[in-house]
Symmetry: C2
Subunit: 452 residues, 2 copies
């Protein structure tokens, strides 16, 4: 889930068809939101481009689900081939799900030897909670201040970002009034800027603060008679505003939770499959081996495929006590699509490409920051980049960010927002993004900032 501001019905100068569609959309009820002040209605997609009904092309610098590019012909071919042959479940023996699991674990540290499949990142994170609970016999969970881990009841209970700001009753930047579950505590994300550590902050400073926060959260849980079961973090801290550097916070947090008998769960739904460039998994930047790694979004290039990777021993209690069957998870079609995504990432060198193009993009954005004082920070890794905006007083530039996002949409470039104050431009294109696309984005952003 993005925390980009969502607009309900503000249809500005929509086409007649789109305006009619917007009205009919009430059939989906009040919980659905659209992106942008003027909703976007694509009808076709190819690689890094989306097209509306009028044929106008939009550069997609937002969608991480089609990380191999929209409608990749190899993925579509694999989907069609397997859907034509057989679509059955994991209670029958089939080669593809086993091969897919083997290919996946081969991409992880050796200790992570087992895979379970689900349909969505939410189901994967929810399953991780169940495994954590059975393996540790404990309930205490620690997440970040603006975490998002999914839509299930158990995950909503530990995802502050799914609560609307009005419901939270919090001032921008203030600590949200969280109706989180009583066994959940939050810690601040390793955010250099918000910690007031900018400039002087070293890796150890930030990591030490994060570790201390985790320690305090554990102590607070124990004060209430709850033992800590797990620290669960999105490894790029996306909903908290994207925080990948300096390195060290993941390792420090993992060490503290383990010292207290808990597990470290790396939510790679946002950061996985090469997104951060040069490495397959965002947790690798800290040189650690998580206890459970959850996967989602880009895993099936839009097909509902997700899952988790863990150590077999952690599943022993869960496997003995519970039956688990996911009707569609790991079905023959999902496995075939997942395998095709791995093939494309590997053969097109997208992990390396994300690093190279991402570095170029960050460099260009950093140069832009020298000319636009509202850019407080450019951060991230690979093709997961955040551009934090401030207002004239130095506070979070929420309105500015909303304006820039909408003006970019008018200019044919799609981005989103993130962070506790929704003041961070979220730039997260398909990994097939090139330097030419990056330059196009930077040029348009330069212009859009100038219009502020």
């Amino acid at each position: 889930m993005s925390v980009a501001p969502a607009f309900d019905a503000a249809a500005m100068s929509l086409s007649v068809d789109d305006a009619a569609l917007l009205g009919r959309r009430a059939v989906l009820g009040p919980a659905y939101r659209l992106f942008y002040e003027k909703p976007f209605a694509p009808v076709r997609g190819l690689d890094v481009w989306l097209y509306d009904a009028a044929g106008r092309a939009y550069l997609d610098a937002y969608n991480n689900v089609p990380s191999v590019g929209h409608c990749h012909p190899r993925i579509v071919a694999a989907l069609q081939r397997q859907a034509t042959a057989l679509n059955t479940h994991t209670r029958y023996l089939h080669e593809s799900v086993v091969e897919y699991a083997e290919r996946l674990v081969a991409r992880f540290p050796a200790a992570l030897d087992t895979v379970m499949f689900t349909c969505s990142g939410s189901e994967a994170n929810d399953l991780a909670l169940r495994i954590v609970h059975e393996a540790t016999g404990r309930r205490g969970l620690i997440v970040t201040e603006n975490a998002y881990h999914g839509v299930t009841a158990a995950l909503a209970d530990l995802s502050p970002s799914v609560q609307s700001r009005a419901y939270r009753g919090a001032a921008p930047g203030g600590a949200p009034a969280l109706p989180l579950a009583p066994h959940v505590r939050t810690v601040r994300a390793p955010d250099v800027q918000r910690a007031g550590l900018r400039g002087a902050a070293s890796g150890p400073d930030v990591a030490a603060r994060f570790a201390l926060d985790v320690r305090m959260a554990i102590a607070d849980l124990q004060r209430g008679g709850v033992e800590p079961a797990a620290l669960i973090v999105d490894t790029v801290f996306a909903s908290d505003g994207i925080h990948t550097d300096p390195v060290g916070s993941l390792a420090a947090g993992a060490a503290v939770i383990r010292e207290h008998g808990g597990l470290f769960v790396a939510d790679e739904v946002q950061g996985g499959f090469g997104r951060t460039g040069g490495v397959w998994w965002a947790f690798e930047r800290d040189g650690i081996v998580p206890d459970i790694v959850t996967l989602g979004k880009p895993m099936g290039a839009g097909h509902p495929v997700a899952g988790l990777v863990t150590r077999a021993e952690l599943l022993a209690d869960f496997g003995a006590r519970r039956r688990y069957f996911n009707t569609f998870g790991g079905n023959t079609v999902s496995a075939a699509v997942g395998l095709a995504v791995l093939d494309v990432i590997e053969e097109e060198g997208l992990v390396e490409r994300a690093g190279v193009v991402g570095a170029h993009l960050q460099e260009r954005l950093a140069a832009l920051a020298l000319r636009h004082a509202e850019i407080a920070e450019v951060r991230g890794r690979g093709l997961y980049i955040g551009v934090a905006l401030i207002d004239p007083d130095g506070g979070p530039g929420t309105e500015r960010a909303i304006g820039v996002m909408n003006r970019l949409r008018e200019r044919g470039i799609l981005i989103g927002l993130c962070g506790l104050d929704s003041n961070v431009l979220k730039i997260r294109p398909p990994l097939t993004f090139g330097v030419d696309h990056a330059d196009l984005l930077v040029g348009a952003l330069d212009a859009a900032l100038g219009e502020a």
Copy 2:
């Protein structure tokens, strides 16, 4: 989830390739189970047939996911067409998800005017819990004794059937020792046979007993200071052993929970989309309008599509307080596939066909029961049929049912088991099943029973 006994590694006379695959399957960990004493390894599917690598055909009398038949060419074509054009999410405006929602609500009573989409029946039931909680402000939930509503943490807490029998520590037929959540109570399914009401039982008798059970569960919740939020039932009571007749229990249960300020949630993941014959939804047999109806399995013919239908007013609080976004739920491809499934069901007349073929099959099975004393009861509606077996002492014929299921598999017919004692043959073929297929099944069952 089926509660059919699952076998771990008992590979009897598997081919060399299948035996090797079974070994490699350890990569999926201990929570995955296979059907049948000798695991089944299909490689192709078409209509009501599955084929193994040796080319042997198996008649599928088990799988309700491909309810339009395996690998239906129209579904595959719709999948391929949309996957080639565009696969994006519900935060962009797109015709297909709106059209799909409109087509769905048109199949429901007028009061049920709103649709939300998920990837799985589990996500749909979990979302229903969240909506129930926000709409009622209450937590108490009532389910049946051997209910199964999904794999999420919140649903496992109210699904007795996901706990292994060993873990439950219960004797067959005994009340399971349930580690259910403290806000959950169970009631007996409207089971004529187990209630000792067989023969003499009238609809009002069974419904009255069910209503009384719900009343007692509500009183027990209230005794613990918990107000009842919802009664949630699988409308065919599949995991409880399939109980569709006599009619009246759904209506009676709904009346009681509403009288106490709670909601009635109809889980149509098993019974929906024409499965029970003549009607689209199993709840229709009782002439009621549920507050929430959850949908899954057959909805996308194997593509991970699910959702729920409800009244817009019930979503008001949820929509105001929570952000909800399901990355893959209702994406353009899922909507296109869902629409194609509706087209096929309508154009091939599968709802009516399920009624006609199901009646024929039940009649043939009833005739079989006259010659096989181990058949205690043939029940169900349309193409959701249960054949309850007893042992020589009149107790649940669990071992007999396991034997019959495995012998049918050897004879090239696929069925499953269900019920608290796993003594009920679960017959639930694609809705394209014909009278010839039904006769083939009955003939093989006759032989398999004779071998017992």
